[in-house]
Symmetry: C2
Subunit: 174 residues, 2 copies
C-alpha cells in the first residue's frame, strides 16, 4: 500500500490516495454483489421473458409512460443508456413484436417507441417472477433501515455520475 506512483488517468500528479483496507473490502463486496445480481436477473428474465434485464427495464419504462410511448432520447436518458444502445435494443424488441416505432408528429427527426399489447402481455406475465427475484435478492434480506440507507447511498452515487450541468449527450464527461 502507498507508493509514490504519480500518473493518474488524466494529468499526472501527487501520489494517489489508495483505498484503505475497509474501502477495498467494501469495493470488492460491491463488485461481487452487483455482478451476481445482474447475472442472476439476466438469467431469470432470459428464461422467463425471453430477454435480458435491460430490455425488460425498457419495457417497464414504456409501460409507465403516458400513452405507453416515449421519445427515444428521453427513454435513453431515463434508462441511463446511450442512444446507440437504445436504437439497437428497440430494433430487437421490435422484431419480437413487443415494441413499435412511430414518427413524432412535432419533430420530423424524432421517433416514439411504444409498447404493443403483445409487449404488455409479456410484461404482465413475467412481472411477478421478476419482482420476486428482486425481492429475494434485496428487500427480503435487508432490514427496513438498510433499505433506507441503500436508497440514500445509491441516490448520492447516481447524482455524482449524472450529466450534471447540460443535458448534452450520454457519454457524460468525455
Amino acid at each position: 500500500m502507498t507508493m509514490a506512483s504519480t500518473g493518474n488517468g488524466a494529468g499526472t500528479g501527487g501520489e494517489p490516495r489508495w483505498l484503505s483496507d475497509e474501502e477495498q473490502h467494501v469495493w470488492q463486496a460491491y463488485l461481487q454483489a452487483t455482478t451476481l445480481l445482474e447475472d442472476h436477473l439476466d438469467r431469470q428474465l432470459q428464461r422467463d421473458a425471453g430477454m435480458p434485464h435491460i430490455y425488460y427495464a425498457l419495457l417497464v419504462h414504456l409501460a409507465r409512460a403516458p400513452r405507453r410511448r416515449m421519445r427515444m432520447t428521453q427513454l435513453a436518458k431515463d434508462a441511463k443508456i446511450t442512444r446507440s444502445r437504445l436504437s439497437h435494443a428497440i430494433a430487437r424488441l421490435e422484431q419480437h413484436g413487443w415494441v413499435r416505432r412511430e414518427d413524432c408528429p412535432s419533430d420530423k427527426r424524432g421517433q416514439n417507441a411504444f409498447l404493443t399489447d403483445q409487449g404488455n402481455d409479456v410484461l404482465e406475465k413475467s412481472a411477478p417472477g421478476h419482482v420476486s427475484a428482486v425481492r429475494q435478492a434485496i428487500f427480503d434480506r435487508l432490514s427496513p433501515e438498510q433499505v433506507g440507507q441503500l436508497g440514500e447511498i445509491m441516490r448520492v452515487m447516481a447524482e455524482g455520475l449524472q450529466p450534471e450541468g447540460t443535458g448534452a449527450d450520454l457519454p457524460w464527461r468525455r
Copy 2:
C-alpha cells in the same frame, strides 16, 4: 417468508407481493447508480488501460495471487464470472501480452493464468486513475457511516446470490 407463493418464475400462483413505493424508488436508484458507475469505469479504463473494467479486475486478482498466478476455475469463482467468459477473456488478455497460460503440473486438465511483467506494468500505470475514479464515485461522496452500511448491505446481497451449498458450476441455481 410468508405467502403461499407458488409459481412466480415457473408456475403461476397467488398474487405476488409488489414493491412498495419506497422499494421501487430504491430499486430504481440502485439500477441507475450501478449502470452509471459500470459504464463510467468501463469508459475510464478503456481509455486509460485499453480494456474494460472486468478485464482489469481479472488482472488485479492475478496480481494479488501468490505467484501472480491462479487456476482458471478459482479465478472465475473469485471474479464471479463463468468459466466460459473467463476463457474468452484470458484469450484476449493473452493476445495483448498481459497474461499467459501454463499447464498445471499437478492436474493435466488444469491451467494457470499468470500476469506477465507487461501486464503488471499496465496495471501499475492505470491503477491511480482507476482508484481515483472509484473514489470520486463512491468514497469521496459517502460519509464513513454510509461506507460501513454499503459494505454490510453488499455483503448480505452477495451472500444471498452465492453458490451456497455446493461449489458446483457458476450458473448457480439453474
